[in-house]
Each structure stands twice: as structure tokens, then as C-alpha cells.
């Protein structure tokens, strides 16, 4: 246990958590069109799960990434015997990524990141004013 949490720590942790979330969405988008020859080998979308991190000494509640989980969605089967990765039945397995949902996730994450930056810069300005007492 170091020093009590400050507003700066709080905002920094919140921003890192949002970055993890945005990276997860970007990974999902990057893998949106990958194809596999087996159902188990298919890429499943990953999702960051946040948890509250309460600092009792300062009363501030920060956020950290509790885990990055894989979504339990079924792979999409497509019959395509000409595909080089097709299995014995001539099927390929496509990644179950909903691109629209991922874009919305990224937008939401970016908005929450911006909110934190805005709150931090206001708080910083007020602290500076207090320091100078002008």
C-alpha cells in the first residue's frame, strides 16, 4: 500500500481500463473475417470486464480490469467445399464477430475516455487555481 489515491491516479487507471477495452474491441474487429477449419479453432470475441477498486483512505473509487473474457458465442458454419480450409464435410467456420457492436463499443469507450480527460483537466485547473490562490 503506497500513498492514498489521488484524482490523478484515479483518472489514469480509468483511462488505462478504457484503453484495454478499446484494444479488445480492435482485436475483435481485426479478427472479424478470420476463418477456421474447426469449430473450436474459431476466434471468439474478447471483452474486458471492469471492476470497482475502492481506496478506503481517500474514499475514491477507481476502476481496474478484472479479466478479459472470451464470449461464448457459436461459430458460424458455412458450406464452402472450395475453400482451402474446408473440413471433411466441406464446411468452414467463421468468426462470430458483430462489427456494428464492436464499433459501438469503441465509440462508447472513446466517449468515456474523453469524459475522464475532461474531468481531469477541470480538476487540475481548479487545483492550480488553489495553489496560486488568484
Amino acid at each position: 500500500m503506497g500513498a492514498p489515491m489521488t484524482l490523478f491516479d484515479l483518472a489514469q487507471r480509468g483511462m488505462s481500463a478504457q484503453l484495454v477495452r478499446m484494444n479488445a474491441a480492435a482485436s475483435n474487429l481485426a479478427n472479424a473475417s478470420t476463418v477456421s477449419s474447426s469449430e473450436n479453432g474459431t476466434y471468439r470475441p474478447i471483452r474486458a470486464v471492469f471492476a470497482e477498486e475502492l481506496d478506503n483512505r481517500s474514499g475514491l473509487a477507481s476502476v481496474n480490469v478484472r479479466s478479459v473474457v472470451r464470449e461464448n458465442t457459436a461459430a458460424i458454419k458455412e458450406h464452402n467445399p472450395d475453400h482451402p480450409l474446408a473440413d471433411g464435410n466441406g464446411d468452414i467456420w467463421k468468426t462470430p464477430v458483430d462489427e456494428n457492436a464492436e464499433m459501438v463499443e469503441m465509440l462508447e469507450s472513446a466517449r468515456q475516455y474523453q469524459n475522464l480527460v475532461e474531468a481531469l483537466s477541470t480538476a487540475k485547473q481548479l487545483m492550480l487555481d488553489t495553489m496560486r490562490l488568484k
Binding site: V63, Q112, N115, A119, A123, L133
Partner: protein, 115 residues
């Protein structure tokens, strides 16, 4: 000494600063499942503080959970518009209190210099 010098404004600035931390916590936890947004009932906290309670205790006693306009599936009660409005209202209050304090400091400085 500083209590009598700055009166209610010293207590108000302390509580405004604590409330700013609490609202920033809400903004940071906007995507945390099950997180319940909190806020300080400022006038209640200020009353308690002026009646001799310590700043930490006063803000703890006056912290309330926010009632969401629309509940969400994951149990998170942070609503960004509400938090943004509360944050800016609090920031304006902080600035106002700060200018009262700096006015007081200026008055005392001028009195000391005998201008």
C-alpha cells in the same frame, strides 16, 4: 485560526474537493458492472461540518446513492449526463468558494500592509 479567518468557505472548499473526487469516481466507473453511483448532499455535509464534525465524517454521513433515471441490466447506476452536470456545478461552486477565500486573503494582506 484559519477557521475564524475563512469562516464557512474553508469547510466548503474541503467538501467541494471531496465531492469532486466522488463524482470523478462515478465517471471512471461508467462501465463497471454493478457499480452504484454516489454523491454528497452538499448542504447536509456543510451543516454537519459547521456543527463541528470532521470533513471526512461529514462527507461520509452525507453520501447518498444516486437514483438512476433508467436502471440498466448490469446494475450500474452511472448516468453520464447527470454526472457531467453535477461535476460542472461542483467545479463552479469550487471556483466561487476559491474567489471568496482569495478576496479574504487580499483583505487581510492589505490590512497588514496598511495601504
Amino acid at each position: 485560526m484559519s477557521e475564524s479567518l475563512f469562516g464557512i468557505h474553508a469547510a466548503a472548499l474541503e467538501l467541494r474537493s471531496q465531492r469532486m473526487g466522488m463524482i470523478t469516481s462515478n465517471i471512471a466507473n461508467a462501465a463497471t458492472p454493478g457499480y452504484r453511483a454516489r454523491d454528497i448532499d452538499f448542504s447536509a455535509a456543510l451543516n454537519a461540518r459547521m456543527n463541528g464534525m470532521s470533513a471526512d465524517k461529514a462527507s461520509d454521513a452525507a453520501s447518498l446513492y444516486r437514483v438512476p433515471v433508467m436502471p440498466t441490466l448490469d446494475g450500474n447506476t452511472v448516468e453520464l449526463p447527470t454526472e457531467q452536470v453535477a461535476f460542472s456545478e461542483n467545479a463552479v461552486g469550487y471556483s466561487a468558494t476559491l474567489s471568496f477565500i482569495s478576496g479574504r486573503v487580499n483583505t487581510i494582506t492589505r490590512a497588514l500592509k496598511g495601504e
